[in-house]
């Protein structure tokens, strides 16, 4: 077929322009004293909330470090790349940070699917990466460059089940979980432990962003449970609590760290009173580090930080501590050996005093942490059980 020659010309010109722009855009002048921390996460789209909060946590840590001068001549810079919550775009983000922005370490990604997509990339490029929030099982296995400092589902769930059976005297569990990697992982762990210690009478699932739970709750009601474990986030949990009460399913509500956000109480009001949930972070913890973080975050962003921000802050702090401990110098940044040193340091993290709890990393890069158990009482979260020391 004959295409108009002019059209072909136009097309070729367009492509050429694009290529030129790309190459020019890639040429940024190298800052000599700067150690670049890359961040990968959803900054736009339906899951933007989580990425934005994580970024805020990292930025606060970096600002503090730069202001205090604890890293001597080195200045930290955060370069963030958006994934829109899509793992295939996350792969692009990771590659761009490594290849074009030439970062020295990455804090990310946020969603488990994003980190999964990035895992082989960071392994091949030998880029130390620590995820503050990706909880998928075995994520860091066989990957010496991937770490995470978030509370694992298994740990918090086992703690919760123990508490529920022993302290709260519950015995007939119903599980309602969100059908994504977070919810599925929680459900699996909870079901396994609950079956060992007591009885699981009902298991139902729901899709992300569901608003109507009535029919699932009616199904659960038939099985006569004495509590419902919600394997999901606060938005849906609040509604589940409300609709359960309406449906005459007035039973104890249990949850994991996804519930521990002020918005749970905002949306749920009286319906969520008495809810117990595990958390890696308790904003009312009276230690100076926690209070300092909460104050700074509140001033900047007009809301109380949640675990996304807190764990991201800790991840950045782990990186900062590593830079100090490993004695990373400006020469290291220049000749690119900083990354290897940082990797060593992160891997050796032991008893790091994070605001989201004492954290150690094991040989697989998994976090060893303990959880709080919080309770909603009088319209706010209070401490029900402190983490047990290792």
């Amino acid at each position: 077929m004959k295409i108009r020659k002019s059209a072909l010309f136009v097309a070729a010109a367009v492509i050429l322009c694009l290529v030129l722009v790309m190459t020019i855009a890639g040429c940024t002048p190298e800052d000599k004293n700067v150690l670049k921390i890359g961040m990968v996460g959803p900054l736009t789209g339906g899951t933007a909330e989580y990425g934005i909060k994580a970024l805020r946590g990292i930025e606060i840590a970096v600002e503090e470090a730069n202001a205090s001068g604890e890293l001597g001549e080195i200045t930290l810079k955060v370069i963030s790349e958006d994934t829109e919550g899509d793992w295939s775009k996350a792969a692009n983000a990771f590659t761009k940070l490594i290849d074009v922005d030439k970062v020295d370490v990455i804090v990310g990604a946020v969603l488990s699917s994003e980190t999964e997509a990035g895992a082989p990339i960071v392994k091949d490029s030998k880029m130390p990466t620590i995820s503050p929030t990706s909880t998928a099982e075995d994520l860091t296995k066989d990957n010496p460059y991937l770490f995470r400092n978030c509370l694992t589902d298994k740990v918090q769930v086992e703690l919760l089940v123990d508490y529920a059976v022993e302290e709260l005297g519950l015995g007939k569990f119903a599980i309602l979980y969100v059908n994504n990697d977070y919810g599925v992982s929680l459900k699996d762990s909870f079901e396994a432990k609950a079956k060992k210690m007591a009885e699981v009478v009902a298991v139902e699932s729901f899709e992300d962003k569901t608003v109507a739970f009535q029919d699932r709750l009616d199904k659960i009601k038939r099985k006569d449970p004495d509590c419902i474990f919600i394997g999901g986030y606060y938005e849906e949990a609040a509604k589940i609590a409300q609709q359960a009460k309406e449906r005459d399913l007035d039973v104890q509500i249990l949850g994991a760290d996804g519930l521990t956000n002020e918005a749970l109480i905002e949306i749920g009001e009286e319906a969520v009173e008495g809810t117990y949930a595990t958390s890696g972070f308790f904003p009312d913890e009276p230690t100076p580090e926690v209070q300092n973080f909460v104050t700074v975050y509140k001033e900047k962003h007009d809301e109380i930080p949640d675990m996304f921000a807190a764990q991201a802050y800790d991840a950045a702090r782990i990186v900062i501590e590593t830079i100090k401990n490993q004695g990373v110098t400006l020469e290291d940044i220049e000749n690119g050996t900083a990354s290897a040193l940082i990797r060593e340091g992160i891997a050796a993290t032991k008893d790091f005093p994070g605001i989201s709890g004492k954290t150690s990393l094991d040989e697989e890069g998994e976090a060893i942490k303990n959880a709080f158990i919080l309770k909603v009482e009088g319209g706010k979260f209070i401490l029900a059980k402190s983490p047990v020391d290792n």
Binding site: I3, L18, T44, V184
Partner: protein
């Protein structure tokens, strides 16, 4: 040598070109409003990945298996929806695309909500280039043959084509099967490049992206599909700095393009100076 980031971009351009040209066959040449194309991609992706992981097939046979699985579904989907025209077909393909996504999200073998990890990396730029050339070559041959002419006839006026003895049922099914085959090929290449799969990337938005690539370049225009794929793969990367405005711009551009240049950047192909896309893309309703 090209840096890994640009290499990745080129590979993605290649894969998207395969997606756009295969959709072009269904949409541009045969006039079937299919907006569930990403489902074929995911079938090919998961199909080839699972074959690699569970049976240890080498690369090419894996790709082939994925593509054949997609083609099979193309035929399965094509047959019953054949009676549907225009908007109804669009909705049906949309629905089917969502069903595929939801099923994959819940099946254990595909990894469900956690996704499928550990796929070995086998796709290289060379493979992608070869695949693109293969796709374009085969599709071009088909279009220039009797089959291609039948497709165009169906697109222009299905009833007339039927009365001329062209078995529209057969040809429509064929176009879905072939289009799905190549979409599956693209999916398989993606799977062995990303090394991880999750169903949420193969939903409605991805199908819309493919649709826009075809329309942007120009329906029924092979080069157009390539241009469209390139522009829509590269531009989001370029616009990273204004990431939160990106989708906004995307939507506005779609609306504006349809107003200003609905035939796409490259317009309609001509043969001997006569536009090849007759009634289909011109007027919807003849004036009184």
């Amino acid at each position: 040598m090209i840096g890994p980031y640009y290499l990745q971009l080129l590979i993605l351009i290649g894969i998207n070109t395969i997606m756009a040209t295969s959709l072009n066959l269904i949409l541009g040449y045969t006039g079937q409003l299919s907006i569930g194309h990403a489902a074929f991609m995911s079938l090919g992706a998961y199909g080839s990945a699972l074959v690699t992981l569970h049976f240890g097939f080498p690369f090419l046979p894996s790709l082939l298996c994925g593509a054949l699985l997609a083609a099979l579904f193309g035929v399965i989907i094509g047959l019953p929806t054949l009676r549907l025209k225009g908007d109804y077909l669009a909705i049906a393909t949309l629905g089917l695309g969502e069903i595929v996504r939801i099923v994959f999200l819940n099946l254990e073998i595909t990894g469900g909500a956690v996704g499928l990890r550990g796929i070995p990396k086998k796709t290289t730029l060379l493979w992608v280039v070869l695949a693109v050339l293969f796709t374009v070559f085969i599709l071009n041959r088909i279009i220039r043959s009797r089959i291609g002419r039948a497709f165009i006839a169906i697109r222009e006026d299905e009833t007339a084509a039927d009365s001329m003895g062209i078995n529209s049922t057969y040809y429509k099914t064929l176009c879905f099967g072939v289009g799905a085959f190549f979409a599956g090929l693209g999916g398989g290449l993606l799977a062995h490049y990303m090394r991880y799969l999750h169903p949420n990337s193969f939903g409605f938005m991805r199908s819309i992206e493919h649709l826009c690539m075809v329309v942007l370049g120009g329906l029924g225009n092979m080069w157009g599909a390539f241009i469209g794929a390139t522009i829509l793969t590269v531009t989001p990367e370029l616009l990273r700095t204004v990431a939160d405005l990106r989708l906004l711009i995307y939507g506005a551009v779609l609306v504006l393009m349809m107003r200003v240049r609905p035939q796409g950047l490259l317009g309609q192909p001509l043969r001997n100076g006569i536009p090849l896309l007759g009634r289909f893309f011109q007027q919807a309703r003849p004036k009184l």
